[in-house]
Amino acid sequence: MTPLHLAIALDGAGWHPAAWREPTARPAELFTAGYWVDLVRSAEAGLLDFVTVEDSFDLPPLSLDPQHVQGRLDAVLTACRVAPLTERIGLVPTQVATHTEPFHAAKAIATLDFVSRGRAGTRIQVSHRATEFANVGRRTPPDVRDADQLGVLFDEAADHVEVSRRLWDSWEDDAEIRDAATGRFIDRSKVHYIDFAGDFFSVKGPSIVPRPPQGQPVVTALAHVEHAYRLAARSADIVFVTPRDADDAAHIVGLVREAEAEAGREQGEVRVFADLVVFLDRPGESGAARRARLDAADGTEGTEYASDAAILTGSAALVADVLASWQHAGISGYRLRPAALPDDLDAITADLVPELQSRGLFRREYAETTLRERLGLDRPPSRYASAAAATAATGSTAVTTGGVA
C-alpha cells in the first residue's frame, strides 16, 4: 500500500476541553513560545508531515467558561516563531479569510515559507459567528441559516485564496538579477501585476515578497458541507474531512471528486485527509479510561465529549487498523487531533508511528525537503512565466509589467 500522510492538529492543551487539567499538561504555558516549540519538535521527532495551528477571530463559545482554556495566540505568528527552531516538519497555521486582507495573508505565508525554507502552508477558514464579526466591526454577520449567505462567505474565501496564489506567482523565480552593469536589481518584466477584481475586493499586486521557496505554499481547508467541498476543490491542495466511518469516507471522497471535476481540476489533485480525534492507550491507562476520566473532570456526570470529527479510542494497533482501512476509500492522509497534549502526541510518535512503520505505511525518515515535495505535489512554475514567455516567443512587444491599464 501507499504510505500514509500524518498531520497533527494543535490547539491549546488538546482537543478535549478538560485536557488542560491533565497531570502532564502545561496550561499556564499556553501563551509562551517554549510550549509550542516543544510540541512541534516532538511532532518532528515522530517524522510527521505537518502540524496545523487552530485560530479564530473570537474565543470559541466553550472558552468563555473558566472551566476551559481561555485565550489563544495568533496562529501564523506562532508558526513563524517555531519555524527557525525546526528543520523538516510542515507548518500550516489557520488564516481567517472572512476577516483578513488577502494581501497581508499572502505575504505572511510567503514569509513563513522563507523562514521555514519551504515548509509553509495555510489552512484557510471561513468565519460566520456573529461574535467574530463584532470584533472586526467592518460589516454585519450573515444569516447562517441562509444557504446563499453562507455561499457568499465561501465564494469570498475562494477569491481570497485566488489572490494569494496569484500574489505568490507574481514574481517569477528569477526576477532578482542584481545586474550591476545596468544598475538593475530586478528584471521588472518578471514581476507581474495580478489585477484581481472580484465581488469582495480587488488587488493590484504584485506581492512585496518575492516568490517563496515552494512557489505555491500548500493550501488546506477543513470541510464538512457542500459549500466547503467546493471551496476546497476550487482552491486547496489538501481538504480535511470528517467521515464517521469507512463508508462515509468513500462517500465524502466521491463528493470531493465531483466538486473537483466541476472546478475543472484533475481527479485526485486534491489530497483528502480525514480528521480524527484520538485518545490513545497510555502505559497504565487505556484510551477509553482516559476519555471517561477527562469527561468526568470536565463537568456533569454523563456528559460525553463530542466532536465534528470521529473519535478513536484505543491502542495504536487499533488506530492503525482504522487508518489502513479508510485508505481504501480514497483517504490519502490523516489529521490527528490529540485529545490531550502532550500525552496523545507522545503516544502517536512513540506507538502509532512505529506501528504504521512496521506495516510499511509510514516513512522511516524524512526524505524530502519541502512540504510540497513530501505531499507529492510538483513545484509549479509561476502562472505568469508562461504568459511572459509566450508573449516573447510570438515577438509581441507587449510588456507584462508596467502595463498599468
Binding site: 488542560w20 497531570p23 496550561p27 499556564a28 504555558e29 499556553l30 501563551f31 509562551t32 513560545a33 516549540v37 479564530s56 477571530f57 473570537d58 474565543l59 468563555l64 472551566q67 481561555q70 485565550g71 489563544r72 495566540l73 495568533d74 501564523v76 505568528l77 506562532t78 513563524c80 516563531r81 519555524a83 527557525p84 476577516h99 483578513t100 486582507e101 494581501f103 497581508h104 505575504k107 505572511a108 510567503a110 514569509t111 522563507f114 523562514v115 525554507r117 470584533n135 472586526v136 466591526g137 467592518r138 532578482e176 544598475g183 538593475r184 536589481f185 530586478i186 528584471d187 521588472r188 514581476v191 475586493f201 480587488s202 488587488v203 493590484k204 512585496i208 515578497v209 508596467g402 498599468v404
Partner: protein, 458 residues
C-alpha cells in the same frame, strides 16, 4: 566630567528598500532569506542593542508608471519575520512598522499581543498612517483617507488597540488544575471590551491574555505638527532625522516640551533619530570610505531617477554627468514616483531645483555630483573613537536619546560598528555591557503600563 552621563540607546534598522542599501557590493547578501535577518539580529544582540527595527512596504514603488528596479525590491512580511527572530534571539527588542489604514485594530492588537508573548516581552510597534490610494489598490478598503482623517483614524486605532491590550488587565494565567483556568477572573469574563467612536464600532472578547509588556512599546515616525502631537500624546519613542546637532536639539526640546500638556514626564518619550555611519582607521580613510559609499548609493541611473522625483518629469535623456536641468520642476498632485514617502519631502520643488543649480555652479558639480551632495546621509564619519565621541556628544547635549543605525550593507554591515564603536561607548560607561532586563521596556527605561501584570506560570 562629574555630571551624570546619560545612557545611550542603540538600535539597528535592517537595510531595506532604498538607494542607501548598496546591493551591488560583493559583501551584500540576500535581503529576503531568513538567514540574513538572523545574522543581522544576532550581531545587534551581541552588541547589546536595544532593538532591531523593520520597515514595512505594501506596494512596490513605481516611477514613470513602471516598477522601480534600481534599488532593492521586495521584502518579507514584518510580523512574520519578527516572530521568527524571536526564536533566534533572547533579549533584542523587535520593532516593526505596521500601518493603521489597511488593517483593523482587533487583528493588529492580536498580532502584537501574540508577538509580545512569543518574544517574552520584546515587541514594539511603529504606528504609521501615511499611505495613499496607490497603496490602497492592494486592499479591500481600496482607497485612503484625507491627511487629517488619517491621523484621526490612527489615534482611534491606537486607542482601540490600547483598549484591547488592557482588556485582560487583572487576569493572570494561573491555570489551577483543580479549579479554574484563570485566577481572579473579573465579573463578566476576561477580555471583555467595547470601542465605539467615529472610526470603529467593535465589541466582544479579546482573544489574547495580557502580554508581558502589557502593551508593545509604541513608536511614532514623522516630523509634522500632527505627528509631533501624536507622539507626545501616545508614543514611547519617536524616530526622526535631523542633520545637525542644533536641529536635533531644537526638535528634542520641542517634543519633550509637549509632554507636560499630556500629563507625561520627560523620560516617557525617547527621541531616537535614524543615523548612518562610515568608519576608517583614520579620519581620511573614513571620509574616503564615506565618499565611496555615496558614489555607490547614487549611480548615474539613480541620480537621474532621484532628479526625476524632484522635477516630476521624465529626465531619461539627461546625462547624469552633465549639468543640472534648467527647466523648472512640474508642480502638482500627480507625481512621477509612486509609493515613496520621500517625494512629499520636496515641499517647494522649484526652490529646491534652484538650490541644486546654485550648488552645481558653486562647486562645479554634475547632476550626479549634486545628487550625491544633497542626498548624503552619513551622520557619523570617522574613526571608531571619533564616531563614539559624536554619538556621546549628541546624546549628552540633548539632541537625542540614542540612535537607530542603518548600515548600507545587508546583512553584515552592522558588524564593524558593533565590534569597534560599541566597546568604546561601553568603556566610557554610556552604553550597557550586559542586558539588565529582559523586556524592551526595561532596555529603554520605560515603565510597564500601570495595569499590567506579568503572566505567571504556575
Amino acid at each position: 566630567m562629574s555630571r551624570p552621563r546619560k545612557q545611550i540607546h542603540l538600535a539597528a534598522h535592517f537595510p531595506g528598500v532604498n538607494n542607501t542599501t548598496v546591493w551591488s557590493d560583493p559583501r551584500s547578501g540576500s535581503h529576503i532569506d531568513f538567514d540574513s535577518f538572523r545574522r543581522f539580529a544576532q550581531v545587534a544582540e551581541r552588541a547589546k542593542f536595544d532593538f532591531l527595527f523593520l520597515a514595512e512596504g505594501l506596494r512596490l514603488r513605481e516611477q514613470n508608471g513602471r516598477i522601480y528596479d534600481l534599488d532593492v525590491v521586495g521584502r518579507p512580511d514584518t510580523f512574520a519575520v519578527l516572530a521568527a527572530l524571536a526564536g533566534v534571539t533572547d533579549r533584542l527588542g523587535l520593532a516593526g512598522t505596521i500601518n493603521s489604514t489597511f488593517n483593523e485594530p482587533f487583528e493588529v492588537a492580536r498580532q502584537f499581543a501574540t508577538l509580545d508573548h512569543l518574544s517574552a516581552g520584546r515587541a514594539a510597534w511603529n504606528v504609521v498612517t501615511s499611505w495613499d490610494a496607490f497603496t490602497g489598490e492592494n486592499f479591500r478598503r481600496g482607497g485612503f483617507l484625507p491627511q487629517d482623517q488619517r491621523y484621526e483614524r490612527a489615534e482611534s486605532f491606537l486607542d482601540a488597540a490600547g483598549v484591547l491590550f488592557d482588556s485582560w488587565a487583572g487576569v493572570e494565567v494561573t491555570a489551577d488544575k483543580a479549579a479554574t483556568f484563570l485566577g481572579g477572573v473579573p465579573g463578566d469574563g476576561p477580555g471583555r471590551y467595547a470601542v465605539h467612536d467615529n472610526h470603529f464600532d467593535i465589541s466582544g472578547q479579546f482573544t489574547v491574555p495580557q502580554s508581558p509588556q502589557g502593551r508593545p512599546v509604541i513608536f511614532q515616525a514623522g516630523d509634522s505638527e500632527q505627528g509631533r502631537e501624536f507622539a507626545a500624546a501616545s508614543a514611547d519613542a519617536i524616530f526622526t532625522r535631523h542633520g545637525t546637532l542644533e536641529a536635533g536639539q531644537a526638535f528634542y526640546a520641542d517634543i519633550k516640551g509637549r509632554l507636560g500638556r499630556f500629563g507625561r514626564t520627560h523620560d516617557q518619550l525617547l527621541v531616537l533619530p535614524a543615523a548612518t555611519f562610515a568608519l576608517g582607521d583614520t579620519q581620511e580613510q573614513a571620509e574616503e570610505n564615506a565618499a565611496d559609499i555615496r558614489r555607490r548609493q547614487v549611480s548615474g541611473q539613480t541620480a537621474i531617477k532621484l532628479a526625476e522625483q524632484l522635477w516630476n518629469l521624465d529626465l531619461s535623456d539627461h546625462d547624469p554627468d552633465g549639468p543640472v536641468p534648467t527647466v523648472d520642476p512640474v508642480v502638482g498632485e500627480n507625481t512621477i514616483a509612486r509609493g515613496r514617502a520621500s517625494v512629499r519631502q520636496h515641499t517647494d520643488p522649484r526652490e529646491t531645483a534652484q538650490k541644486w543649480r546654485d550648488l552645481a555652479a558653486e562647486k562645479g558639480l554634475s547632476l550626479r555630483g549634486v545628487v550625491i551632495e544633497m542626498s548624503a546621509r552619513q551622520t557619523f564619519v570617522g574613526t571608531p573613537e571619533r564616531v563614539a565621541d559624536l554619538i556621546d556628544e549628541y546624546v549628552q547635549a540633548h539632541a537625542s536619546d540614542g540612535f537607530i543605525l542603518v548600515p548600507h550593507i545587508t546583512p553584515d554591515g552592522l558588524a564593524d560598528f558593533a565590534d569597534s564603536v560599541v566597546p568604546i561607548l561601553q568603556e566610557r560607561g554610556v552604553f550597557r555591557t550586559e542586558y539588565t532586563g529582559t523586556t524592551l521596556r526595561e532596555h529603554l527605561g520605560l515603565a510597564l503600563p500601570a495595569n499590567t501584570k506579568k503572566a505567571v506560570a504556575s
